[in-house]
Symmetry: C2
Amino acid sequence: MPMEARKSGRPRVAVLSRDLILETALKLLDERGEQGAGIRDIARALEVRPSALYNHISGQDDIIAGIRELVSDRIDVSGFGNLSWDDAVRRWAWSYRSAFAAHPPTIAIMVVTPLAPKSRTSQMYEAVCAGLIEAGWPEHMVVNLIVSLECFILGAALDHVAPDNMMDPGEDETAPNFVAAYTARASGLPSPEARPTDIVFEMGLEAMLAGLTATFQQLKGES
Amino acid sequence: MPMEARKSGRPRVAVLSRDLILETALKLLDERGEQGAGIRDIARALEVRPSALYNHISGQDDIIAGIRELVSDRIDVSGFGNLSWDDAVRRWAWSYRSAFAAHPPTIAIMVVTPLAPKSRTSQMYEAVCAGLIEAGWPEHMVVNLIVSLECFILGAALDHVAPDNMMDPGEDETAPNFVAAYTARASGLPSPEARPTDIVFEMGLEAMLAGLTATFQQLKGES
DNA sequence: TCGCAAAATGAACACTGTTCGTTATTGTAG
DNA sequence: CTACAATAACGAACAGTGTTCATTTTGCGA
């Protein structure tokens, strides 16, 4: 750990690598959120100059795409092939939400960044596809099913990082039904430390799975 | 429309207003997307200096929050009180997705920005709450129901602005099921110009509504 | 050993959102 | 009507962002 200024020129021992940069970025995201994980923050944490990072990554978008890969590793696909398809989806969905809720910036980028072939994210999709096809879902429906679940999951991940009271209507006398419903919601929580976002996620996921299960049984009934 | 440089000091006729700034920002977002709608872009479009905007808005976050209000106006709540609750939700959800898909930046901010009392967004929630409560949904469940639908809608809005081929696995031989499912999806489109995101949205929404309808009927059966 | 490539620092760029001083005009109170 | 405070524009500059490119130093392969 050098206490003096590092010399210009190639170091004797490599200081940086792509993986190190990505792991540092993810760590900063975890600790400080989006605002504390910029190029300069990462460079400072690694005790190099910001421009040194560009020898290993092409830019900030590259960092975010790499973080996405790291986060994808946290998505639990172990249920597919071992549990019923809907239980496997439950496990996948909860772990998926949890993985991305910790890193909101990756959500917007993930939705917009083309998938790199042979990436970890690609392998995650492979496991889910294989599980659903094996369970009996028609091939042409599987990707749509995954994406629609993902829409819900990613929206829910964003919801999970928002403050719990951000939808509080206060004492708005122009919105009496909204106020009453919001108040009633708080008194309907199973326990004081329960997060509303967990209730929302379970409600939405179970509704989707119930609907998909009905579709699935209809398809089985037709064949 | 002055052809010469505007003088320093208060103008004889007001040049700016909060509404004008917000409408211009929304227009730029529509035309150029997020990258073409910054403070300097708005100022340039209105032929003033960037700092002049700060007499009417507190900052960029304020602009985005204002845009959110304008976009909320485009959400169609007319079905509530006039249609069955699930048909009203369908109309709301499709218009909601459409309104926000055009302005991705507002999604991230909306999820994180506390709701201002008596705002248009608040009125939108009031209409939805009133409709669902009138239809018979228990008060304590209504907000959770709305938020879970919103999670899906906002995720789907993000999905809708992404390129259609961003999930293309190409010829990845390590992901055969994924490749097969992706290929089969393309051949399963109802028409060549159909957007996959519309299929996804309908599939997910209908699944959620089917599940919620089952829950609703269960609640009615219990009472 | 030599030459080229890699990887670090250094210097600077273009751009962002924002603050605050100056200028010119309006609005309000006496 | 006058004086002063408030308003709203421009001007100048700030702090911060991601990035490029030149220079320096070292590793690696032939």
